[in-house]
């Protein structure tokens, strides 16, 4: 059984009769008894997407999946091409299939990821929980504010925008949590 806390971007689970994959984390909020989440999910059979909520405590059936370790080889428009590190076969996933994960990786990373296959077809990717990215734009850092409690928007080298503490600056390397896109800490 999968618990609510196990579900993040890239997770495949059964919601009712539908087998869905989480594409985007639209919001995580503190509910009264734990986190509540709003997800963008895609039905991996019909291709239909929908927004879905999740609260703590629900249980979901496991889905039988094949998982292969791969690396992102290159990006061709909206198509992301991954290479199996054992067979050297290439597999394509669309930008939509990858959801939020497109913001956490580039071909230059040499990052090993897990590609999820459902009935022989690649449907999504699971990244390491933490990845390192570089800030390419943000307002100048505030020296002395190391509390990490006040945030500002920052653009990363992948083009996505996230919230980072005030002490961050352009060029700062940061560690991100790929499950929800939050800042973890400054990379050493």
């Amino acid at each position: 059984m999968l618990m609510t806390g196990d579900i993040h971007v890239g997770t495949v689970f059964k919601s009712g009769k539908d087998t869905v994959i989480v594409q985007r984390m639209l919001g995580i909020k503190g509910g009264r008894n734990g986190q509540v989440k709003k997800l963008r999910v895609k039905n991996i059979v019909t291709g239909q997407t929908m927004d879905l909520g999740l609260d703590m405590g629900e249980k979901f059936e496991d889905v039988s999946l094949d998982i292969h370790a791969m690396k992102l080889s290159y990006i061709d428009g909206d198509t992301w091409v991954f290479m199996d590190q054992t067979s050297f076969e290439q597999y394509e996933l669309s930008k939509d299939d990858l959801g939020d994960n497109v913001g956490y990786m580039t071909p230059e990373d040499d990052l090993e990821v897990e590609i999820t296959f459902y009935e022989g077809k690649p449907v999504g990717v699971t990244l390491p929980i933490n990845v390192v990215r570089t800030i390419t734009y943000c307002e100048p850092g505030v020296k002395g504010d190391t509390s990490g409690k006040t945030f500002k928007p920052a653009t990363l080298d992948t083009g996505i925008e996230i919230s980072v503490p005030l002490f961050c600056d352009i060029g700062t390397k940061i560690i991100l949590d790929t499950r929800d896109g939050t800042f973890v800490e400054r990379a050493k």
């Binding site: 009712g16 509910g31 009264r32 734990g34 509540v36 709003k38 909520g53 979901f60």
Partner: protein, 436 residues
């Protein structure tokens, strides 16, 4: 009222004494008011906390019938001899605050032999944050195609489910609220004092000025909050009494609610030399507590249920939120202030906001926590009347309220808007009934 009786299961886990169960109890009463034929089952984890609120509850019983409801002990379950699910298996379920379900209930709800459609509603806690609008009625995943689940968000906007407007509260509001005639309010206050055994000279403390002949004519301030050093609050209340109230020929009566804040408040009051009369309240039931809040000129409240009652009362109040890691309570407090902002003039809003933020700017609650709060300006503002020609009750349309409208009128208009959003219990009942 419908022809056929519907059964609704309300599930509640008691996390913080009376907060969670208080909302569940109010909801149950409101649903029964709306439809007396409705069958309610309350599955409660913590009957000990429910008993003081709901007269007649026996925490020793696994299943009991109270006020026409079936009340079941979450932990023990109804037992093998109970046949309630045979007659009415769970089909409309309200989970208060995502409390989830006990195993014996889960088995009946997700029984694979059942083919009927079932609906579970996660009634979340009250928040003024924008996500309440976003999550209201959002479909939530479950593992069964036959069991659908939705979020149901209480809130302060028309895009949420609103607040519970139970009949008892609204009836009391008509007698004691800001629109009630002065005689009615005075009689209502006298009744409350009589109930508390506090009529006449029963209240404690001296007061720097002569107390009014009748306590029901005093300025009532209610304090129901968390543990902290109430030195600043007591000093401001004392200054308010000896200054503004004395000049107006009035006096102060503080009602210190039972609970965490009472010993801390009384300690600060003692240390200050008992500068005004205080009535240390015993634990009171929900209906009496509602009347106390409605009868008060000003309140400091904590907790979801009291926040909602204070907001609906139409009286000025301060809200102290439960402290969270990283002072996250300030996010919730600021969100609430933004809901209030359109109804107050800029000067009054600044007064309320600074007092509220100072009261809430802390890492934890403890008797020694001394904040930087100052409530004197706010107390003074509660006495200021509308400037002539200013709107009073009518909510400002698009524009912000101007400073000609008094603070009291602003809170009154805020409450009127919340009431206009409708009764959460009614909206929820319609939602549950219409589900197919």
């Amino acid at each position: 009222m419908r022809d056929e009786s519907l059964t609704i299961d309300i599930l509640c886990k008691v996390i913080d004494n009376y907060g969670d169960i208080g909302v569940a109890y109010r909801l149950a009463r409101a649903l029964s008011d709306l439809d007396p034929v409705l069958r309610l089952r309350l599955v409660v984890d913590g009957l000990e906390a429910f008993a003081p609120l709901c007269p007649g509850i026996d925490p020793a019983l696994a299943v009991q019938e109270i006020q026409g409801w079936t009340v079941i002990d979450w932990r023990r379950g109804p037992g093998p001899d109970w046949r309630g699910f045979e007659a009415a298996p769970p089909c409309r379920v309200v989970e208060c605050f995502a409390c989830n379900r006990p195993d014996w209930f889960e088995d009946a709800l997700f029984d694979p032999a059942r083919k009927d459609k079932r609906l579970v509603v996660n009634l979340e806690y009250l928040t003024a944050e924008d996500w309440a609008d976003d999550f209201h009625l959002l479909e939530s995943a479950t593992r069964s195609a036959e069991v659908r689940k939705r979020f149901f968000m209480p809130g302060f906007t028309a895009r949420t489910g609103g607040l519970i407007l139970d009949k008892d509260f609204m009836d009391s509001r008509a007698v004691l609220g800001p629109e009630a005639p002065a005689e009615s309010r005075c009689a209502g206050r006298a009744a409350i004092l009589g109930q508390m055994g506090a009529a006449g000279a029963a209240s404690q403390g001296s007061g720097a000025t002569a107390a009014p002949a009748r306590l029901e004519e005093a300025y009532w301030a209610t304090v129901f909050s968390y543990e902290r050093d109430y030195g600043h609050v007591v000093a401001d209340l004392a200054a308010f009494q000896s200054g503004d109230l004395a000049a107006a020929g009035s006096s102060l009566l503080v009602l210190a609610a039972a609970g965490k804040s009472q010993p801390c408040f009384l300690a600060a009051w003692e240390a200050a030399g008992r500068p005004f009369p205080v009535l240390a309240l015993p634990f009171v039931g929900q209906e009496t507590w509602d009347r106390l809040l409605l009868a008060s000129d000003f309140s400091i409240v904590r907790g979801e249920d009291s926040l909602s009652r204070a907001a609906l009362s139409g009286r000025p109040f301060l809200w102290q939120a439960y402290p969270q890691d990283g002072r996250h309570q300030l996010v919730k407090v600021r969100a609430f202030l933004e809901r209030l902002r359109p109804w107050l003039g800029p000067r009054d809003f600044g007064t309320v906001a600074s007092a509220t933020l100072a009261l809430n700017d802390r890492d934890a609650d403890a008797p020694g926590v001394r904040g930087e709060e100052s409530i004197l300006a706010l107390l003074q503002a509660t006495l200021r009347p509308d400037t002539p020609a200013a709107p009073t009750v009518a909510p400002p349309a698009a524009a912000q309220a101007g400073d000609r409208q008094s603070l009291a009128s602003g809170f009154q208009a805020f409450a009127a808007d919340l009431i206009d959003h409708g009764n959460l219990a009614s909206t929820l009942l319609t939602f549950l009934c219409d589900f197919v």
